[in-house]
Amino acid sequence: MSIDEYNGSAIVAMTGKDCVAIATDTRFGVQRTTITTDFERVHKMGPTLYVAMSGLVTDAYTVAARLKYRLNLYELRENRPVNPKVFVSMVSNLLYERRFGPYFSTPVVAGLDPTSGKPFIAGFDCIGDPTIGTDFVTDGTSGEQLMGMCEAFWRPDLNKDELFEAISQSLLNAQDRDSYAGWGAQVYIIEKDKVTKKILKARKD
């Protein structure tokens, strides 16, 4: 039993044309037992910046809370929403502080640059190594399955509806091959002026 597989999760972020999408499963389980099926993994960090946390649920919460704390102070000092690249550095710094006793949770960042509106996605490892993605970023116990699905469905310059279809199908089919993730899905489509949250019906096993 690996600590990364104690709770289980499936997280994916994809870029489109002037939009990004981030999607997660909604299972909260403790090893083989499922506790709830409507667990929120996505946290809002800014009007067009969202973070989803994979891995151990207690650390996912702690990291998200500490990140929001630092972000709030940043935005109070700077008086503007944070740039995603700067946010990635913030996440990286927070995780590396625990280099020799890490948080067993990795964030996936999805957002739009507040000024230019350019799509931005990033993934990390548990000690903060950032990977700024150009097409898609996946994480969780279904990470590998998601990689394969995304490779098949993603293409450049998807509009928001095509992006929604691509990310939804990638997530639903990948999580069906993972017993620790599933029981529902949430998809956030982030555009310059609005964010749409859609809840998908998935296989309930």
């Binding site: 709770n7 709830t36 207690t58």
Partner: protein, 204 residues
Amino acid sequence: MDFCIGIRGNDFVLLCEDMNAAQSIMLHKQDHEKMLDLNDHLLMTRTGNLGDGVQCAEFLQKNIQLYQIRNGYEMRSSAAAHYIRKYLADTLRSREPLEVNLLLGAYDVISNTPQLYYMDYLGSMATAPFCAHGYGAMFATSILDMYYHPGISVDEAIGILNKCIKELKKRLIINFSKFNVKVVDKDGIHKLPTISVEDGIHTH
């Protein structure tokens, strides 16, 4: 070896726990109350290590009451839940991790909503319409999946509870003789009659 269960209705949260106080093979007491009122609208039950449980529960109770003394108003249920979660998460990576799983039943008087929080010893937290801890949880959650519906009444919840207890008596190797039942609603915390397995379990 303990068991606790929580069921949330439209305007109440029902919490039930076994009343065994056991360590390894020795059963010290069969009428031990573990549930604790953290404040007027916050009820907490637990499973796990007996000593850690008492330490955790009393520490949290006193701090939540201190908040009330300092500020003049009750700590809100979601604030209390997050505070308790942080306490568990902080102790996890300290010298003395606490081996306690909690269920928190609360009634938020400001928004008039009942809330049930599931917390495990690592500090994971989730809200749920029903949940349980312990070996008994494996049986109870399946029964609740079948019979629970949103907006159940207290009587229906007790009926489902009795079904769970009947199942535990039949299929769980651990012998529980008594169950402590309490309800949180807008008027506070009320103790319901103890369910005693010897006196018969009434399923309705």
